[in-house]
Structure formats: structure tokens, C-alpha cells
């Protein structure tokens, strides 16, 4: 099979610096993007956490390039989603703008954390040189995927997945959210579009920072945290949360792309291939979800997550 290593100069550059070689085939990347897109469209935002670890495990793309390229392709996906969003008047721009301030700091902090790991030299275990970045990120992705998989598996067994199939958020609001909503740490602002009279600005900045940190450090999975936070912690109506999340996503991914570009973490050819294939896959996945959604089917994601964790472990230790 013909290989096109020079088509992916950034992935090649960092892989060689880290003592590896990416195994990138154009057709394989297109199939991969399509499959991850279908999974994301079918199972929701949790699927976004599959992209970077699988790019590393299957194609030997260094984690910094996998994360940077994932953020960059999410900038395109976010543009696509907001252009197709029919209810732009439901976006709470005031909430989105304040949240964006926290997000920008979060994205930069996350990207700097990744930069620190990238620059950290290897450590030696039993005489073998091991890079810090794949170990740390492998453990974090593994933990997140195990958590998402176990939540979906539990929902499928208890029947809570029925609600997810109907388009409702499945997680019940944590007990601490009502306490968080009652926090009165000045300055307070009102959010008329969301129907909120007064909310501490620090809470909005905090949510923005945490989601930004995830985006900058782990790639395009911020919406997975942001959506429940908008609904359950801030108290937005669902339609406002969806619109505001899309608005937030475009700018946070845009800033993430800029920040990772400065650090040389984005391989544009890789981005274009994955963006095209995952966008098509996403549409197919969301259609399949509407047609075939069943709690038992949602259980499949638990197995996909488990398989990904096994691949991460295989890549790390063998």
C-alpha cells in the first residue's frame, strides 16, 4: 500500500522528534474520520474524546498533533453546526461572551499544559526511555472514556437511556447544583435571554475556564461538559443552552486553533481529511440515532470506549 508521509509534515516533524514515525494513509484516515463521526453523531459529545487517543493509538500521531488537529477540525465542525442551527435568536450572547473570557484563559492554560508535557524529557523505567506526554494523556483519556462508557452502560441497564433517545439530557442534576446557583459572590449579572435574574459572574467564568482547559489540553470535547453545566449549573433553558454552546464552541475552537498553531501542533492536511469525513459521518450518525435509538444500542458505546482504552494501553506498554 502506498504511503504519503510528506503529506503530513507536522505529524512527521513531531513524531520524528519524539523518536517515532506516523503511519498515515489517506484512505484509512477518511474511513477513521467517518467512523468517529458516526459514533459522535450517534452517541453524542462523549464520542469527541475518541478522536485524539485513536489518532495516537492507530496512526502513531503524537498526542500534541492529535489534540491540536482535533481542535482545528472542531473549529470547522462548529462553523458547520452554527450555520445549520435554525434558532440563532435563542443564543444568549451576553452569557456566551462572559463565558468566552473564561474559556480563552482555559484554552491557553490547557495548551500550555500540553506544551509542558511535550517539552518534558523522557524518564527511564527498567532501562527503557518512556515519554511523559503519552503516559499522562493516555491515563487521562482512559479514565474519561471508562467514566463515559460506564455512565452509558448504567443508563442502558436502568432504562434511563430511553430519555436520551427522546433527546433529553440523561444525567440528573447533581445535588450541589442548586447550592451553586444560590452562591452570591459579587459581581452578579442578569441574563434576560436565559430568564436568570442574578448569577455570579465567577460561576460563568469558572465553567468557561474548565471547558476551555479541556479543549486546550485534550481536544474538542468541551461541549460534553459545557452543555450539562449550562442547563444544570447556570439554569439555562435547553434551547438557549444549545445555541449558546454552539456560539461558544466556534470562538473557543477558533482561539484553540490559533494557540495550537503558534505551538506547531496542527497538521492541516490531517485536519482537512478528518473534518470532511467526520462531518459526513456525524450527519449519518445523528440520523441513525433518530431511527435506531434504543437503550441497548447506546450500550455499544461502552464497548467502543473499552476497546479504545485497550488500544491506548496496548500502545503504551507493548
Amino acid at each position: 500500500m502506498e504511503r504519503f508521509p510528506t503529506f503530513f509534515p507536522i505529524a512527521d516533524y513531531w513524531a520524528r522528534l519524539q523518536g517515532g514515525e506516523p503511519q498515515l494513509l489517506i484512505w484509512a484516515l477518511l474511513v477513521f474520520g467517518l467512523v468517529v463521526g458516526i459514533l459522535t453523531g450517534f452517541f453524542g459529545g462523549g464520542g469527541r474524546f475518541l478522536m485524539a487517543p485513536l489518532l495516537n493509538s492507530l496512526f502513531n500521531v503524537p498526542y500534541n498533533v492529535a489534540v491540536g488537529s482535533d481542535v482545528c477540525q472542531m473549529a470547522g465542525t462548529s462553523t458547520l453546526n452554527i450555520l445549520r442551527f435554525k434558532r440563532l435568536n435563542s443564543i444568549d450572547f451576553k452569557l456566551g461572551a462572559w463565558m468566552l473570557v473564561g474559556t480563552v484563559f482555559g484554552v491557553e492554560s490547557g495548551a500550555q499544559l500540553l506544551e509542558g508535557l511535550k517539552k518534558a524529557g523522557p524518564f527511564f523505567l527498567f532501562g527503557k526511555a518512556i515519554s511523559v506526554m503519552p503516559i499522562i494523556l493516555g491515563i487521562i483519556y482512559g479514565a474519561i472514556l471508562v467514566w463515559i462508557g460506564s455512565v452509558l452502560y448504567r443508563e442502558a441497564r436502568t432504562g434511563a437511556g430511553d430519555m436520551a433517545c427522546e433527546g433529553f439530557m440523561t444525567a440528573s442534576p447533581p445535588a450541589m447544583t442548586s447550592k451553586l446557583q444560590q452562591l452570591h459572590i459579587p459581581p452578579m449579572i442578569s441574563l434576560p435571554v436565559s430568564g436568570i435574574e442574578a448569577i455570579s459572574i465567577w460561576m460563568i467564568l469558572g465553567i468557561g475556564f474548565i471547558t476551555g482547559l479541556l479543549v486546550g489540553f485534550l481536544g474538542g470535547g468541551g461541549g460534553f461538559i459545557r452543555m450539562p453545566a449550562l442547563v444544570y449549573v447556570i439554569g439555562c433553558p435547553m434551547v438557549v443552552a444549545i445555541g449558546t454552546d454552539l456560539f461558544e464552541s466556534v470562538f473557543s475552537m477558533g482561539y484553540g486553533t490559533y494557540s495550537h498553531s503558534l505551538k506547531g501542533n496542527i497538521d492541516l492536511v490531517l485536519v482537512v481529511l478528518i473534518l470532511i469525513s467526520s462531518a459526513v459521518g456525524n450527519q449519518i450518525g445523528s440520523l441513525l440515532a433518530r431511527r435506531f435509538c434504543h437503550p441497548r444500542v447506546r450500550q455499544v458505546f461502552a464497548y467502543v470506549a473499552l476497546l479504545t482504552v485497550l488500544l491506548i494501553l496496548f500502545k503504551l506498554f507493548l
Partner: protein, 62 residues
């Protein structure tokens, strides 16, 4: 086509390999931001017909 690809590969290279770390070129940053946004805009038009086609296919066979 080959010329475009060569230009993209050149842009993605380290601007100053003699300096420590990766030195991003301004064109590399510009294209990294503009290309996915433009592509996302284009895909928002293309995915509509795909959605319609797959929707019909699933509707009939599913």
C-alpha cells in the same frame, strides 16, 4: 494541484530550524484558522443533501 500541496507542505515547515522549538510561519497560522472555517461553511451546504439521501435510505430500509 501538486503546486498547492507543495506550498501547504512548505508553509507547515519549521520557519527557523536553527532556533529551539517550532517556529510557526504567519501563513501557517492564517491557513489553520481560515481553512477549517471555510470548509465548515462549505460542508454546511453539502451535508444537507447527504442528510436527505441517508434519511430516505434509512427510512426505507431501517
Amino acid at each position: 494541484m501538486t503546486g498547492i500541496l507543495e506550498y501547504v507542505i512548505h508553509l507547515a515547515g519549521d520557519a527557523d530550524p536553527l532556533q529551539k522549538g517550532f517556529q510557526a510561519q504567519p501563513g501557517y497560522i492564517f491557513f489553520n484558522i481560515v481553512v477549517p472555517i471555510l470548509l465548515g461553511g462549505l460542508l454546511s451546504r453539502i451535508t444537507g443533501p447527504i442528510e436527505w439521501f441517508v434519511g430516505r435510505l434509512i427510512g426505507k430500509t431501517g
